[in-house]
């Protein structure tokens, strides 16, 4: 009996400890991937964003802080992309078309940021915008001014872009919603434009 | 003239664990037979339980019978193998405990959760019930299967351990040195050879089964993790087919061990015997595609393999064992009693049951026959007349009070009732199959109903006979543990 207890107690505590670790490591068995974790984390705790200098398709310079007081939808792209960014661009187009026109610009702006600033100059950004029908004002295409600031920007959003051995990148594509307080509040799948729009409408 | 010079090893009584297995077998077997009868009565339109109830019964009947065939086969294998290699009683009992837990989970899933997707849990049915049963019900069913599988895995690992300890590896235990080299007459006894074969194929089947069950459980809750349905079907059939085949390879040990005691002739592990078991070890793992011949989506090579090996596998063990049994019995002067009779009948049942499978294993025939009652006809022949006869033969043998004990009239009558009932019952299946009566249908067309009625009467006869068998076994339980000679002495042999 005593021997059994001596064997059983450590076994039980290890099992409990192990389960607790797994629970902690997966946010209560809900987020098994880094992507799911980042989405849950911003929902629970909106994240402040760095004021990285950006440059848009017309060479205008700005920071995310300039959007304070407005909602901002952000996607991360690179203009040479010919796979997932097509869906991203299309999703953004849908987003653009399905929010009230009056709110556009006043209450809400769209921003596509390139994580490939070496290649994507204003000219490429403009071309990308034209491809998806961005107006260049309410929906701008931008890149970080200094390549050195890119990692901080991506890290804040939790975006990872890795070379795909074909000259392009693989990246965790999503649509990001930044609140009026300049904090990252929500991250959605690129094929979930409708719920994303619903979330925006609620905050307009 | 017959020689009866062989003096078999002394008879060991069964351990309590083995008796617990056999009592569980008797109880579950009877219950499942009643479930089967209810299904036939429903098809015969003599009772009305509805399609839902029919499929619940079919699920329980299938799962229960396959499981109990495993438990009964394991009891026989364990009892005899334990005389050659020291096995663990704890593991034996542990397997039974896990089996009972698994059965409870399955019963809960079916009768509380209304799961009725058949024992084969074929993907994607368990997860796509169209609202007839919940995800939880399907999960409990598959979880129950996992628990039962875990028990058998432990049992097989213990058997592997004992065989390796006693014989130094599977290769030696299968008699490969004697098979591929000079036969020095030192090959392991048939019981060890058979147990080794069963252990090898069951270990593989159980690992495959556990893998597909884990995959299906994830798919159940996260359907976006898609399973290739053909892969799932192949894995499920591999697991299920190997497992149910292994049960008869376990149970046939009763024939190898008991018939020689009645005839005083040894069952030798000669080259032919060893070759047949080695061949079947391989082949039994590759015949499952003969159940998939209609699935044209499968790669052609797989279907051809199923066809060819399905044909080939009928030969080795069955022919060698059937021939061996005939040779052992022929002019031996054997005196028939319930034990020897049932065991001899089982050889006929196994052989006869393989024939419909042989025919159905032909691709052309399979296209028209496979989804008919021909297939239940096949496996009921070989399980009812083959495996179950072996199990009852073993029970009678164990329960025999003394060598000279005579069987009461009612037992002998029950034997013939069982024989006639089983033959009638399976022939009703087979004939209905020939008439293209679809299988797995709760409701039958009016012109099919007569076969169902005939089958129901025969089923009643089987159950009546089984009641006698079981009652006698329970009545003789006190003798089952005793170490005394049970087999009668053949005519013309001198009593030692």
């Amino acid at each position: 009996m005593k021997a059994t207890r001596r064997r059983f107690l450590p076994l039980l505590s290890i099992a409990l400890l192990g389960t607790a670790t797994l629970w902690w490591g997966s946010d209560g068995f809900t987020a098994f991937t880094a992507e799911a974790a980042r989405r849950q984390s911003v929902l629970a705790e909106p994240r402040p964003l760095p004021m990285v200098g950006l440059e848009d398709q017309d060479g205008r310079r700005f920071t995310l802080g300039d959007y304070a007081g407005r909602l901002l939808a952000i996607e991360f792209i690179y203009t040479q992309c010919n796979s997932i960014c097509y869906s991203l661009g299309t999703t953004f187009r849908q987003l653009h078309d399905s929010v009230p026109t009056a709110a556009l610009g006043r209450d809400l702006a769209l921003l596509s940021i390139s994580f490939d600033p070496q290649h994507d100059g204003p000219e490429q950004l403009r071309e990308y915008g034209q491809r998806f029908g961005a107006d260049g004002a309410n929906w701008r295409i931008a890149r970080p001014l200094a390549a050195a600031e890119l990692p901080a920007l991506l890290a804040a959003f939790g975006v990872v872009a890795i070379p795909d051995r074909l000259g392009g990148f693989e990246h965790n594509a999503a649509i990001h919603l930044v609140g009026r307080d300049n904090r990252l509040r929500q991250i959605s799948d690129i094929d979930a434009a409708a719920p994303f729009v619903a979330a925006i409408r609620e905050q307009l | 003239m017959a020689k009866n010079t062989y003096l078999p090893a002394p008879d060991h009584g069964a351990k309590t664990g083995v008796l617990a297995y056999l009592l569980t077998t008797a109880a579950v077997l009877l219950l499942m037979m009643v479930a089967g009868l209810l299904m036939r009565l429903e098809q015969a339109q003599m009772i009305s339980i509805g399609a839902n109830g029919f499929y619940q019964l079919m699920t329980v009947h299938g799962a229960g019978m396959v499981g109990i065939a495993g438990i009964a086969g394991a009891a026989i294998m364990w009892h005899f193998l334990n005389q050659y290699a020291a096995l663990s009683v704890r593991v034996l009992v542990g397997n039974l405990a896990l089996f009972v837990i698994g059965v409870a989970m399955v019963l809960g899933s079916v009768f509380v959760g209304n799961f009725h997707g058949a024992w084969t849990f074929l993907f994607p049915l368990p997860g796509n019930s169209l609202g007839l049963w919940s995800r939880e019900a399907a999960a409990w069913f598959m979880g129950g299967m996992l628990v039962i599988g875990t028990g058998f895995l432990l049992l097989q690992l213990d058997i592997a351990r004992a065989i390796i300890a006693g014989y130094g590896g599977f290769a030696r235990a299968l008699g490969w040195p004697q098979l591929f080299g000079r036969d020095d007459g030192q090959a392991p006894p048939p019981t060890v050879v058979a147990s080794t074969m069963v252990t090898i194929v069951n270990l593989i089947a159980l690992v495959v089964g556990a893998s597909i069950l884990a995959m299906m459980l994830v798919n159940l809750y996260h359907p976006e993790f898609a399973i290739d349905p053909l892969l799932a079907k192949a894995m499920i059939y591999f697991f299920g087919h190997v497992f149910i085949n292994a049960t008869i390879y376990m149970a046939v040990i009763a024939v190898y061990e008991i018939l020689p005691r009645y005839t005083r002739r040894p069952w030798k592990s000669n080259k032919v015997f060893l070759a047949s078991w080695t061949c079947s070890t391989l082949m039994v793992m590759f015949i499952f595609p003969h159940h998939l011949l209609m699935d044209f989506g499968f790669p052609k090579w797989m279907l051809v393999m199923g066809h060819v090996i399905g044909y080939l596998n009928t030969v080795p063990i069955l022919a060698v064992t059937g021939y061996g049994a005939l040779m052992i019995v022929f002019r031996s002067g054997i005196r028939w009693d319930m034990g020897s009779r049932l065991l001899f009948l089982s050889m006929f049942g196994w052989a006869a049951g393989a024939m419909p499978a042989f025919i159905d294993g032909t691709i052309r025939v399979n296209y028209v026959m496979h989804n008919t009652l021909w297939v239940p006809g096949h496996f009921h022949t070989y399980l009812l007349l083959g495996l179950v006869s072996m199990v009852f033969g073993f029970m009678y043998y164990l329960g025999k009070p003394a060598r000279q004990a005579r069987d009461p009239f009612i037992d002998r009558a029950a034997f013939w009732a069982y024989l006639v009932g089983s033959l009638g019952f399976v022939l009703a299946f087979l004939y209905a199959g020939k008439e293209s009566v679809a299988r797995r249908y709760a409701e039958h067309l009016p012109q099919w109903v007569p076969y169902d009625r005939v089958a129901s009467y025969f089923a009643v006869l089987i159950i009546a006979a089984t009641l006698v068998f079981v009652a006698r076994f329970i009545g003789h339980l006190a003798h089952a543990g005793g170490h005394h000679t049970r087999a009668t002495v053949p005519f013309g042999a001198v009593v030692a």
């Binding site: 450590p10 505590s13 099992a15 192990g18 797994l22 992507e35 | 995959m215």
Partner: protein, 201 residues
């Protein structure tokens, strides 16, 4: 007298191998692809923990095992620790966050390899077989998860890489199974002399 010196050399070798694995260039090289990260670096770290156990004297091993709470407790610890590192986000974290990387380098040898080796030596064929068979079916299962996942599970790895790891896991499981069965066919002499976990009847 020869024994301690040899085991001393082995300890040195194991330590050197561990240090080699921690070197940034080696680390980056092995972590560059999911396959080498999961199927080379991490197993090597586990193996080093197991080697460390073999270098300890028998008495220390026994005390260590009892410290964990017996062989089953050891096995449980190894199972949970390895399960944690099977979380795709743990893999991602190990690349991006130094603390997670450090935790990986410490926990894989100490909480997976070490207790596994401690449990292993006190298991008979049943215990070992149970570990093997479960490991193999879990590997097939995990491989399938990676192949069937509708998404890229690690942000740091290409989706092709993930597919390759899935198929490698399945292939590896098949090979391990064949190897294990092969050993049972030959009847490894070690399994005969090992004391079984229970008393035979």
């Amino acid at each position: 007298m020869k024994q301690p010196r040899r085991s001393g050399r082995h300890a040195l070798g194991a330590g050197a191998a561990y240090l080699l694995l921690t070197l940034p260039p080696v680390r980056h090289w092995l972590e560059a692809s999911m396959a080498s990260h999961m199927l080379v670096q991490m197993p090597l770290l586990v193996a080093l923990g197991m080697v460390a156990v073999r270098l300890l004297p028998a008495g220390r091993r026994r005390r260590l095992r009892n410290g964990f709470g017996g062989p089953l407790a050891c096995l449980t610890a190894a199972t949970f620790a390895s399960a944690y590192w099977m979380l795709p986000r743990a893999l991602d974290a190990a690349i991006g966050e130094p603390l997670a990387e450090f935790a990986k380098f410490v926990s894989l040898p100490l909480l997976v390899g070490l207790p596994l080796a401690l449990a292993w030596e006190s298991f008979g064929l049943i215990g070992r077989g149970f570990v093997w068979t479960n490991l193999i079916s879990m590997q097939v299962f995990l491989g399938w998860l990676y192949v069937a996942a509708p998404l890229r599970v690690c942000n740091n790895y290409l989706v092709d890489d993930q597919l390759r790891v899935g198929w490698l896991l399945i292939t590896l499981a098949g090979l391990l199974f064949a190897g294990w069965l092969g050993a049972l066919f030959r009847g490894a002499p070690a399994s005969r002399t090992e004391a079984p976990m229970y008393k035979t009847a």
